[in-house]
Amino acid sequence: MAVGNIKTIRTKIRSVNNIKKITRAMEMVSAAKLRKVQERLMAVRPYASKIAEFLTGLAGRVQNLDFPLFKTRDNVKRIGVVLVMGEKGLCGSFNSNMLRFFNEFQKKHPQPVDLTAIGKKTVDTAKKVPLTPVDSYVALKPDVTFGEIQSWTNKLIASFVEGRVDEVWVLYTEYMNAVTFRPRAVKFLPVQTEKKEGAKKEASSDYEFEPEPAKILATLIPRYVQTTFHRLLLESMSSEHAARMNAMHNATENAKDLVSSLTLIYNKARQASITKELLDIVGGAEALKG
C-alpha cells in the first residue's frame, strides 16, 4: 500500500514538473511575441494620434462636410460590429472578458448586428452565441500587411456607405501595459471628429490648402480609417500576448507550489515506509531471539 502510494506521488511530481516546463516555455514565447507586437503598437500610436489631430483640424475648417463617412444617421436600424478576440485560449480571462463585454454592449445597442469576427476565438464564440459572422479573419500576425488592413476596412466602409449598416463599432481590448488591459468599444463609422465644435469656432480663413480641402480630405479619410483599424488590431494583439504571458506565469508559479507540497508529502511517505520496514525487521529479529 505504502509503496504504491509513494509511486503515485512520484509520477505526480514528475508530471507537474513537465507541466511547469511547458507553461514556462509558453510564458517565454508570449513575452517574445508581446515585445514584437508592442514595438509595432508604440510606433503606430504617435502616427495615429497625429493623423486624428490632422483630420479634426481639417474637418473643422471645411464648411460643408459632404463626405458620406462623416454623416451620422439618426435612425440606426442595423449596426456593424467588429469583434476582436484572441487567436488561442490559455490566456486567462482575456477572451471571456471580451465576450461578457460584447453581451453588455448588445444590451445597450439592441439593433440587429452584422458581425465581423477577427481572431479564431471570435469565430468559435460566435457559433455559441449564436451569430453568423458576415466576415471572419483568423490567424492574425503581428506584421499584418497594409493591403490586408485595406481590404478589411474597404469592406466595412462599403457596407456603411451602401446603407447595409448605419454604424460600425469595433470591440477590442485596449493595451495599457503588460498587466492592465480592458475591453473597449469605439464607434468606428461614421468617422468621429473630436471637439468639432471648438475647431469650427477657430475656423481660420488664413489657412491655405494645396490642393483644395475636399481633395485632401478624400485622401486623408481612408488613411485615417486604416490607421485607426491597424492600431486597434495591434492593441488587441498586444493585450492577448500580455494576458497569456500573465496566465502562464501564474500557472508556472502554481506548479512550483504544487511540486514543493507534493515533495513534502512524498518525503513523509518515504520516511514512514522506511520506519515501518525497520520496525518489521526489528520485530522479526526479536521474535527469532525469543
Binding site: 502616427y47 490632422f54 489657412y207 491655405e208 490648402f209 494645396e210 485632401i216
Partner: protein, 137 residues
C-alpha cells in the same frame, strides 16, 4: 540668422525625423514647396519625392518620401508620410528590384489593385531608386 522651427516626419512604422531646422523643401501636390519659420498655416498633400532639410547647424539632410500629408504652421511643421527613408536606410539594389517588381505588376496587372494604384507604386519605387543611387555617388 534664420529663425528655426520644429520639423517632424512620422510614418506608421516610426518617427523618421524630429529636429529643429531652419528650412524645409518638400514635394507638395503642385510642385516643390519651401518652408521657413513663420510660414502661413498650410495643409498640403505630398507626392513621392524627396524632402531637403537644413538643420540649425547648417547641415543639409535628405529624406525620401512616398506621399503623405504636411501640416505647416508658423512654429512647427509636421509631415505624416506613408513611408519615408533617410539615405542610410535605402539600398540601391533592393530599390531596383522593387522597381522591377512594381513594373512587372503594372504590365501584367495584379488582382485586387487598380491601375492607378499600380502606377503610383511604380512612381514610388522610381523615386526611391533615384534617391538611393544619387546618394551613392
Amino acid at each position: 540668422m534664420p529663425r528655426e522651427f520644429q520639423f517632424e516626419v512620422v510614418t506608421p512604422e516610426r518617427t523618421v525625423f524630429s529636429k529643429a531646422v531652419t528650412s524645409v523643401i518638400m514635394p507638395a501636390y503642385e510642385g516643390y514647396l519651401g518652408v521657413m519659420a513663420g510660414h502661413a498655416p498650410l495643409l498640403a498633400l505630398l507626392q513621392p519625392g524627396e524632402i531637403v532639410v537644413r538643420t540649425t547647424d547648417g547641415k543639409q539632410e535628405e529624406i525620401a518620401v512616398s506621399g503623405g500629408f504636411a501640416d505647416v504652421g508658423p512654429a512647427k511643421c509636421l509631415i505624416l508620410a506613408d513611408a519615408a527613408e533617410t539615405p542610410d536606410q535605402l539600398n540601391p539594389d533592393r530599390a531596383r528590384k522593387a522597381l522591377e517588381k512594381a513594373k512587372a505588376a503594372l504590365a501584367e496587372g495584379a488582382p485586387g489593385h487598380s491601375q492607378e494604384e499600380l502606377e503610383a507604386s511604380v512612381k514610388r519605387a522610381e523615386n526611391r531608386l533615384r534617391f538611393a543611387e544619387r546618394r551613392k555617388k
